[in-house]
Symmetry: D2
């Protein structure tokens, strides 16, 4: 079946796999102290124009989030998130598992706003209340939308005003940069105190690079990483992959491909009057469908119902590095031949 189920349904991008095969037999020190990891981290620093940033690579996204949040907060501090944030909804309490509250506000289109942040901060008064100390946003958001550069600049401003750390979860950063090229590595390096560059959903077998821009947050991060069980023995395997994604802008190319595939689908769906549950801005598209129509769709394409809204299914269609033009063609055919 044709897969629009998610963006982690197939292995590594061929170039990444080639790099793994090519370097498979080199001998390397463990735990990310190898030449590949060093090079990958250096490439990231250069792209982000953050010569003093620290870069660490871990296996997965939930792990990265739990590690970052628990390392930079004091026990009684919380992280602010939109209600749709991955750390709030889809991590099975992993953040709370490290002892920290997620301070949630209900937002539109998956986005946190300056007002939402101000509202959490305003509520806090004294030691009887959890103290907000970090802002979490994801780019792209969990519902496929994109923060504009201006939006993030405003968020950073409110963070600076209140002494909050801005953490940008880039699990789907490739797709985000494709959708909004003026908010790329360099802007991330300027606006985030810490951000991630997600490999798993963008052409790697696994691997999320954590970029700690703010030097005050860099101390002892390898201790934190090991303590959370996130220091990989064969760190070089992740280093090879992230390095390959950084070279020749492969990462951005993958994002562009994902984005282009999604754009074609979104346009055709729009023409066919399919209703969007969230604005179509990146490689994740969300449609409102009757359960009957949703079922027919899912008989033909691997995709998922992610939400139930009264009489409608919210169906997610995701394009990924391995999505082909043929896959998209077939979905376009379906769109044109199956009116809701």
């Amino acid at each position: 079946m044709i897969y629009f189920l998610n963006d982690y349904c197939s292995g590594a991008h061929p170039a990444v796999m080639d790099a793994l095969v090519r370097n498979n037999l080199t001998l390397q020190p463990g735990y990310g102290l190898d030449e590949f990891t060093i090079e990958a981290c250096q490439l990231i620093r250069e792209k982000a124009k953050t010569p003093n940033a620290q870069v660490h690579i871990v296996a997965g996204g939930t792990q990265a989030n739990a590690l970052v949040i628990s390392s930079f907060l004091k026990p009684f501090e919380s992280v602010i998130s939109c209600h749709t944030g991955h750390i709030n909804v889809h991590e099975t309490g992993a953040i709370e598992g490290t002892g920290h509250k997620v301070s949630v506000r209900t937002g539109e289109n998956g986005k946190l706003t300056v007002e939402m942040i101000e509202s959490v901060v305003a509520e806090h008064t004294d030691e009887h209340m959890v103290r907000p100390a970090m802002v979490y946003i994801s780019q792209t958001t969990e519902v496929g939308t994109i923060y504009t550069k201006e939006e993030v600049m405003a968020i950073r401003e409110v963070c600076d005003k209140h002494g909050l750390i801005l953490y940008i979860d880039g699990a789907r950063l490739a797709s985000a940069i494709a959708a909004c090229p003026e908010f790329g590595y360099e802007e991330l390096g300027k606006l985030a105190h810490v951000f991630t560059i997600g490999g798993t959903k963008n052409g790697a077998l696994y691997g999320e690079a954590i970029v700690i821009v703010d030097e005050r947050l860099q101390e002892d991060f390898r201790y934190y990483t090991k303590h959370r069980g996130a220091l990989l023995a064969k760190g070089f395997v992740a280093g090879i992959q992230i390095g390959e994604l950084m070279k020749d802008e492969l990462y951005l190319e993958i994002g562009k491909h994902e984005h282009r595939m999604a754009e074609i689908i979104a346009k055709e769906a729009e023409k066919a009057n399919w209703e969007f549950a969230y604005p179509p801005e990146s490689n994740q598209l969300f449609f409102l469908m009757t359960p009957e129509f949703s079922e027919i769709l899912r008989e033909n394409f691997a995709c998922s119902v992610v939400e139930k809204r009264q009489d409608y299914d919210v169906v997610r269609i995701v394009t990924h590095w391995a999505s082909t033009e043929e896959d998209v063609e077939q979905l376009l055919d379906f769109i044109n031949n199956n009116r809701q």
Copy 2:
């Protein structure tokens, strides 16, 4: 100044203090294995008509909440609470500090409803999401309202339907029973899997009794208690106090006094057209006032602004065991002489 600031502003009820003095020199085994604690726990079992319940006494309310919740949940499970719940707002992340998420719904008048619980349960699908496993309600609520017996019966029903533990935080239980006598110890024993009887805010120096009704939850509770630092060396001091409160229905008498004092104030305030922020149902009254009027009030009486609502202060006035009729008279005078 006259104190309507809170219900933990003065020492022990004279009868409780007498008991402490009277028994001060008896020699007792430690850690709650003494005769006073044994008797106090037995009295509670009798009142609640729960002969098989376990009773444990700890020092404070946040401690009791963190202990109960962390002992009965698996690491990946959450407790459902109204957004105004003490565990959500006023415990500085203590619940999350034990690793557990508080699954919050915004409620009216401080109360959780069946619909709110159902909505949390409905949202949960699988292992990618935190699993709700307990319902937390406080009686009285944090905004001074009272659950009716019928409301709690409905909540228990939905708990049974979904396998949720019902935990009722009785930090202000004396006042609650005074307000709603048909929902007393016995009904608590029937409807809650676990509940607390708060001493601190009702005549004791300190001490919260945790009543574990459901036998499946009783195993190893002394281990959990010590592990959380909540097993008191001189447990008998708390035992003496809780025992005294249970004898001759002193606890209920204190609640009645608090309730009567509040009722008089509420009636006069109503007559004077003071606006309530929440329905006046127990010993905590919440008024909407202009900041100017709130300031004048607070120059004359110790009470606090607990919330800011646009152009209004929400001012809390609390009656307690040591509130006197003279105190109340003076407040009535103020009410009648100072029109908002």
Copy 3:
């Protein structure tokens, strides 16, 4: 039965109880912001000659230990303790429950030495190992021995050398100062980064004062306290007690009494050739006895077997503020009339 079971077997010292009764009806702000607590803390600062120290009062000893240790360590850091340390043996994993390892060395007579600390530090190399960051000693130790001032000076020196925090658990500090007057409040204020003054075992109903001498450790301690459920609503009750103990050197007087009672017993036991399991230096005495003899003793006096050593029981006899000369006389009679 006559109680030599422990030092938390009876209520408050009469002077402390008087203070509680006397001040019972004063109205006070909550959470330790009251005048009694302020005065008690000021008295402590004066005695310790640490004008910039912060003092916080919590209910119990395990709670104090877990709070202090978890507040001052990073998640991946450990606290060094002798194997007999309370935090290692008798807190049911409460320290680990806050996420921290106790790095243990086997010591003699309950004491940690410079060599033991150096050995833990030497073992640590890099981020693959927990990092020792604090030293925990208790004065008196759990086996009734006393650190000399010189020993603690040497420990502090090794702490400074390696950047370790020195935490002295003074649960039985009154008895310790009685035994070793040249190592009193002032010396504690000089040598410890943080120490406690235990009320529970020295005349209070409950209450442990945490004295944070080092200013770098003082930030946000009320947040940490509330987060761990240790901020008492009626903080003034503990404040009254600790204040009373500090006035007129009542605390030291209690210690002297305990010490004198124990000394008399120890001398007589020595004469009668009773064998000590640990050197008799404070109000806790430990004897090696045959199980038969231990049983006879315990039929006559409340005391406990704390350890089994091959053919011997280790029996603990503890004197406390309420131990009377008559109690001691009876024990002396027993000693003289019952040869092992």
Copy 4:
């Protein structure tokens, strides 16, 4: 330089890499629900003759240990380990980070004995002490030794006697089975309640299979896994690797190769009178050398000093799947030409 540094210094065994390449473009559901993982788990069940075992694959060893231990223990319970156990020494407090104490006994040759376990159990009396509930052993041990089948049978017996869970960490299981073929998959399935089969150190890029034999421990394990950030989005990548290692006994073949390489080295070293720090039983060899000699060795071969013993270095030499006969030849030459 020739690498005897560790067994995670090179990529995947060629057959494993081939499988990754071959299946790279197949489309799979996420989170270990794919056909490869299902097949790999089935193969493990068959080999271990545990048709009802659950198998879960996570990325790393410390992660696997923290996940297993924290999922099966109550908050106040501890895991018993030899002082050399990985969970005690080399996980930066990761186990304590999940709230659990490691109850340690000093052992010989990296092994836990029945006596050591009994001693921990005997020490535990009541709720004032952490309760031992699990036994952790690693096969091979961290110092390269091997438990015999009889030793593990005796350990399991003492576990059953005291209701302890037996957890066998098989990070280096391939080498262990090569050294002790009568204690293979099937025996593990019989004697362990839960064990791991380590991929990272035996031919995979990453991947540790957790085999939960005891059905009482199987409930909700996917929840625990996600909660700890250990559920891999592209689970199929690990599934492919573990599956390939299980097919045609590749895993055992890798172990045999490692073992044979080590055996040759050990024999030659013995002949040359090199002194062993621990008995040479598996692919990790530990030698006592003067610092001078150790330095010369390490100028020629990548290997590490893992311990300092007075005047000696303890040097670890590790063979791995990519160790060649030529590598070993060169080391033999060195041994023969460089007398200590």
